[in-house]
Amino acid sequence: MLPIFAALVAASTAVLIFAGGLVTSTGSGLSVPDWPNTYGWFMWTFPLSKMVGGIFYEHLHRLVASTVGCLIVVLAIWLWRAEPRPWVRRLGYLALAAVITQGILGGITVLWYLPDAISIAHASLAQIVFCLTTTIALVTSPGWKRGYIDSRPPAPGSRRDGTLEAIAIITTIAIYVQIVLGATMRHTGAGLAIPDFPLSFGHVIPTHWDPKIAIHFAHRAGAMAVALLIAATSGHVLYHHHRRRELVRPAVLLLVLVALQITLGALTVLSQKQFIINSLHVVNGALVLVTSLVLTLRAHYSRFAGSASSPIAGSASLGTYTPRNPAHVPRGASA
């Protein structure tokens, strides 16, 4: 049940990011001026009939956020009670602390009239929360606990690929930086600072500059860099590890998602920031990030398996793991 619940929490976090994207895309961030109440009502008692105009998006975001917060509380308690691996339990605590901080940042940004720095921090921490819930879902999944033995190559040592480990980390960090840049562009009102696409004011490089144009152009340049990194990472996986399904799947998904993301980015500009497209661009960016994170964690699997607190050892101590091939049990595993 825990893996299913963890996956549900991760999915709900994606929904929350989409709901947050709708708030900024519709300019509804201050349509509910108070916090944590909504126009004086306790959040959960605010009448549905009054969810009109911008209130619909802002209040919906608060309701979804509260739900996700509660789910993460349950997840943290569940991990604390049932998860034998200390580092996984710590991930649960960290996710709980992050989501509480996230809620407070969301409240502060409303009470302080959306200062750029707080709003950008709120958007950036949302990605961290999503990364944490996705990581928990991943490392509690049956595939991770089994050590992906279904697609494991014969020699245990052949699972290590330093190049892949390095480039996957670089790609994931680059995606996160790109998302923070996007959040900066979004919250400083630079989303249409360059109104055309794919050119910039009719040129490859803008002919004139101001801070908003610079932020916008940096996001476009960042998209190119991220796309190249993803192509390199996924290409490496497809060329060198085409039999490892746990790597091939996220690698292929990454290629699809980044293509979709660039398309959504272009459509956001060309549609003058149509709010649904804009919000899909936000949530798809988060999906690109966590997909890259999953690929990175799986690429580094042997490091986790080789640690003293091996996931496989943990699974074994739970009595849920039966190695199919003892030769593949990593160092430190009790089986």
């Binding site: 509804s28 911008g54 605590y93 901080t101 407070i104 502060i108």
Partner: protein, 267 residues
């Protein structure tokens, strides 16, 4: 195994308490600002005895604001996000450019920008009313003096938030969820113009000019304005429009004199 969790819970609770206290600090700031939202006495400078303008010698500046060219037609506002608004004001149109058939421009804020020197003027006690009715602000452009109460009313049977995006004055954002609610706000500093918006209904906006004197007017749909009771002197008059921009003219008026100005904006 459980100790870390307990520590985390304590840490989180402490952090939450601290953060809520900080938020309470925000509320205190708002409460501190409350006097400015109720009837704050005018600042000492504004309350100082004003040198009265001699009505017998007072001058008048009148004029008209026109638009050269073909004005863009007002666009219908999409009200579907709030059924009440859709029902209450189905024919609502944009108020950005109100141009009459003869090219006269409404909603232009015309005021004495310079020339009054160190004169001070009494602060009116009667409030200026900004009404939210039919899901739009009435009036769309208005002027007010420092310290003069601005009464903001919600005449609609729907929720509005009143968001004043002041730069030199204090920004504020207050909800008016119930029909008939009123709030009073005063401004402490001169500021032309302060945009007002309702974040619930993205199309709702208004503009308020805050001045330290009473010589301002907003053009009606016939584009005319009148600044009465001016002491004789030389003044810089500015005409401000939310989309067309600003224009200034310098004019000298003698005792009992009336001068006529013409402002012409282009697209």
């Amino acid at each position: 195994m459980r100790r870390p969790f307990h520590l985390l819970v304590c840490t989180v609770l402490c952090a939450t308490s601290a953060a809520l206290a900080a938020c309470g600090g925000g509320n205190q700031t708002q409460q501190t600002a409350t006097p400015t939202q109720s009837a704050t006495p005018p600042s000492p400078g504004a309350a100082a005895p004003a040198a009265p303008v001699d009505a017998a010698t007072a001058a008048t500046i009148t004029g008209k604001v026109t638009f050269a060219g073909t004005p863009p037609p007002a666009q219908p506002v999409k009200l579907s996000s709030d059924p009440y608004c859709q029902k209450a004001n189905p024919d609502l149109k944009t108020e950005t450019e109100v141009v009459g058939s003869d090219g006269s421009v409404g909603n232009v804020f015309v005021y004495v920008k310079d020339g009054l020197g160190n004169r001070t003027f009494p602060t009116p006690s009667e409030p200026v009313v900004l009404d939210q009715k039919g899901c739009h602000y009435t009036p769309h452009v208005l002027g007010i003096q420092i310290g003069q109460p601005l009464q903001i009313v919600n005449s609609d049977d729907t929720l509005h938030n009143v968001h004043g995006l002041a730069k030199t004055n204090k920004e504020f954002n207050q909800g008016q969820p119930i029909q008939g609610m009123k709030m009073t706000h005063t401004f402490s500093t001169k500021e032309v113009m302060i945009p007002f918006k309702c974040d619930v209904h993205g199309w709702m906006n208004a503009w308020i000019g805050v001045l330290d004197h009473p010589y301002y007017a907003v053009t009606s749909t016939d584009g005319t304005f009148s600044l009465k009771g001016l002491p004789p002197g030389t003044y810089t008059i500015e005409a401000w429009h939310e989309k067309l921009g600003t224009q200034t003219q310098t004019v000298t008026v003698g005792e009992k004199e009336t001068k006529d100005l013409a402002f012409s904006f282009k697209a």
